[in-house]
């Protein structure tokens, strides 16, 4: 096959039936406020680790719901707490991150 230097991008479709939601459910049981996130992105905007590892609590919650890996994002989280100060919904973000780390 001719190599054009690019290819068709892989489908981004997520088969929700195949997704393992166990981690998300477990985290939600321990940090109920994870469910009230409205994905506004205040946490992403204020995040100290975002420039280094793409950290964003919003994306972490989303990734958990999609059964995707969150390790890369979490790997630079400094727990500084800016996300919890910025969150308009009152998600206990620091506890969420620590709980995810404990359960991974």
């Amino acid at each position: 096959m001719t190599d054009f230097g690019f290819s068709i991008s892989k489908s981004a479709t997520i088969d929700m039936d195949a997704v393992d939601m166990e981690l998300y459910e477990r985290v939600c049981r321990q940090v109920p406020s994870a469910r009230i996130c409205m994905s506004c992105g205040s946490c992403s905007a204020s995040c100290v680790a975002a420039p280094y590892s793409g950290m964003s609590v919003r994306k972490v919650i989303l990734a958990l719901q999609r059964g995707k890996d969150v390790r890369t994002m979490l790997s630079n989280c400094m727990l500084c707490g800016k996300c919890s100060m910025a969150c308009p919904r009152g998600v206990n973000t620091r506890n969420l991150i620590l709980t995810v780390c404990r359960n991974l």
Partner: protein, 605 residues
């Protein structure tokens, strides 16, 4: 005084002897175990301090002041102070005087362990005993002192509010057994000594009681039962002592030398930590002090319950309690024994297992290029994460630096890395250490001589965990005071009155109480809140807490605001960006950082 019973023994002393043997055996074994748990270094430290004359004197003084006279408690609350010291010191004197009586009157019995305790049963008065009347008087006097303490304790049990305590810790079942046994000991002793007073002699308390009882009871029949009851009460108390809060009596005597030797908590459960846990007297002073007590649901999350759960080994509750704490350090401040609740929780957090740990090796290395002009010492300003979230503070600090003509550089203007304290207080010490290394490198490479900080959280971290060679770490408050003293900035006086909120990390954390007030006094009127300085109430936004949710935090913030607003000031001043953000959310009056206030009032030249 002559021996009444030739054998010098009566079966009623057996319960006491059993109890005593048990408690001494338990304590000896416990002491051995704790010493074994200490590291070799700690053991050496302790041994050295025990032979150094200064620390020995300090130990003895502390044991007398804290364990017997309860000096710290007196200073805080006279009634509670009297209650505790009357029981402790009175009981101590009863034991000492008991021994003195035995030595003076029946010296051959001194080898009998129980003799000083049951002295009055075993002896009879004769002509020459009158010389002992002073001793008899003292015995009765101290018994009265102890009894007055017991009466106060009973009143306190019914209504702790009379003693200035809104809430106390709920005693567990065994604690109640110990409590009632302790209450029973002294009235029973009075009865027993009164029934025997016509034989053994007595003083102003026992002789009249003896006379009264003779009128309608007949003393001979009641003598033995009361002595039995007295001995049994003692026996029961000592048998339950190791499993109740009364363990704090022997534990505190070990805690004081260990603390004076400079030992620190290094393990979650063992060694010095164990001694701290056992030393908690469950008095419940920390319940009222804890900022979380603004929520009814959090009443059982204060230090007294943590020590109890650690003793019980209830891991689920230990985790809950230690994760919730705001780490404001107030419980340590009010604790009479000096149990360090925050540190104890930190130890529990540090032993949690994590399936995944962050790694910061990919963070960029130092970007700051040394641009030091040689004539002035360069100031490196570190705002920290919280200052980035409250840009007004950072701008004000920068503006003040510019106006005072200092050579400065803003280390994290474009965003930097965290100082590491949040990770550290979450118990992730090793990860925090990585951040410390990164920042240390940046700071050292910057060529600055002074590291200026506007966030007390970072300030405490820099002071305690960073090794910055000769770079001075200062919070901006004393730095600005220097500017004012040296005339670098001139200020006008404002008409606004401020109440100053002591941030936990700056006040209790770093001991800085006077400087912010001095600074505030230079520019405005200052009012004091009811609970200020060491007693200041956490704003509720603390990063120390991991699991406290927002609704609970809000109540804490409101309680703290009530305390501040009670002073009637126009506005609230603080010196911590986190406190400012938290208060601003719910406050009905402006909340401002000292830097903002000062910057506004500088006279521009």
């Amino acid at each position: 005084m002559i021996d009444r019973i030739p054998s010098g023994f009566h079966p009623f002393v057996i319960p006491f002897l059993l109890g005593m043997a048990f408690v001494l055996g338990y304590c000896a074994f416990g002491l051995f175990r704790i010493i074994k748990q200490l590291s070799w270094k700690e053991r050496r430290k302790l041994a050295v301090s025990l032979i150094t004359p200064e620390t020995v004197v300090k130990n003895i003084r502390d044991i007398f002041c804290d364990c017997l006279f309860h000096v710290k408690l007196w200073k805080r609350n006279k009634l509670l102070g009297y209650m505790h010291s009357s029981i402790a010191f009175g009981w101590f004197m009863l034991i000492v005087l008991g021994h003195l009586e035995v030595i003076l009157f029946v010296p051959k019995r001194i080898n009998l362990f129980y003799y000083p305790i049951f002295f009055n049963y075993f002896v009879a008065e004769d002509e020459i005993t009158l010389r002992g009347s002073l001793l008899f008087f003292l015995m009765d006097f101290f018994l009265l002192v102890v009894l007055s303490g017991i009466v106060l304790a009973m009143i306190k049990r019914v209504s702790s509010r009379l003693f200035g305590m809104r809430r106390t810790a709920r005693p567990s079942f065994l604690n109640l057994v110990g409590l009632y046994a302790l209450w029973a000991i002294f009235p029973l002793r009075l009865l027993a000594e009164s029934f025997t007073a016509h034989i053994s002699g007595g003083s102003f308390l026992t002789i009249p009681a003896n006379w009264v009882f003779r009128q309608f009871l007949g003393n001979e029949l009641n003598m033995l039962p009361t002595w039995w009851a007295y001995s049994i009460a003692l026996g029961v108390f000592m048998c339950v002592l190791p499993f109740t809060r009364y363990m704090h009596i022997p534990a505190e005597m070990l805690l004081i030398p260990m603390r004076n030797a400079g030992l620190k908590m290094v393990d979650a459960r063992k060694g010095f930590t164990r001694v701290q846990v056992l030393s908690c007297p469950n008095c419940g002073v920390c319940v009222d002090a804890c900022p979380m007590s603004a929520n009814r649901a959090n009443l059982k999350d204060c230090t007294v319950y943590l020590t109890r759960q650690v003793r019980r080994g209830n891991e689920r509750r230990i985790e809950q309690i230690s994760d919730k704490c705001l780490m404001c350090g107030k419980c340590k401040e009010v604790c009479q024994v000096g149990v360090d609740g925050a540190q104890l929780r930190l130890m529990q957090r540090a032993r949690r297992q994590y399936g995944f740990s962050p790694d910061f090796s990919n963070l960029p290395q130092s970007q700051i290029i040394s641009s030091s002009s040689q004539k002035n010492e360069k100031v490196l300003y570190f705002g920290g994460c919280m200052t980035q979230l409250t840009p007004a503070i950072g701008k004000s600090v920068e503006s003040i630096l510019r106006k005072s003509g200092v050579d400065y550089e803003w280390m994290d203007r474009e965003g930097g890395i965290c100082c590491g304290r949040p990770l550290y207080t979450a118990g992730r010490t090793r990860e925090a250490e990585q951040l410390v290394q990164k920042n240390q490198e940046i700071i050292k490479n910057s060529g600055a001589k002074v590291l200026l900080v506007s966030c007390p959280i970072c300030y405490k971290m820099f002071l305690e965990h960073y090794d910055l060679n000769d770079i001075r770490v200062v919070h901006y408050v004393p730095f600005m005071l220097d500017f004012i003293a040296s005339g670098k900035i001139q200020l006008i006086q404002s008409e606004v009155s401020y109440v100053f909120h002591d941030p936990c990390e700056l006040g209790r954390g770093c001991g800085m109480y006077d400087e912010p007030r001095q600074l505030l006094k230079r520019v405005a009127q200052i009012r004091e809140a009811e609970k200020n300085r060491e007693m200041s109430v956490c704003c509720g936004g603390s990063l120390g807490s991991l699991s406290l949710d927002f609704a609970q935090r809000e109540k804490i913030t409101r309680a703290s605001l009530d305390n501040l607003c009670g002073s009637g000031a126009d506005a609230i001043a603080t010196a911590c960006p986190l406190c400012k953000t938290t208060f601003s959310r719910y406050s009905d009056r402006p909340v401002r950082d000292l830097a903002e206030i000062v910057d506004e009032l500088i006279i521009d030249n």
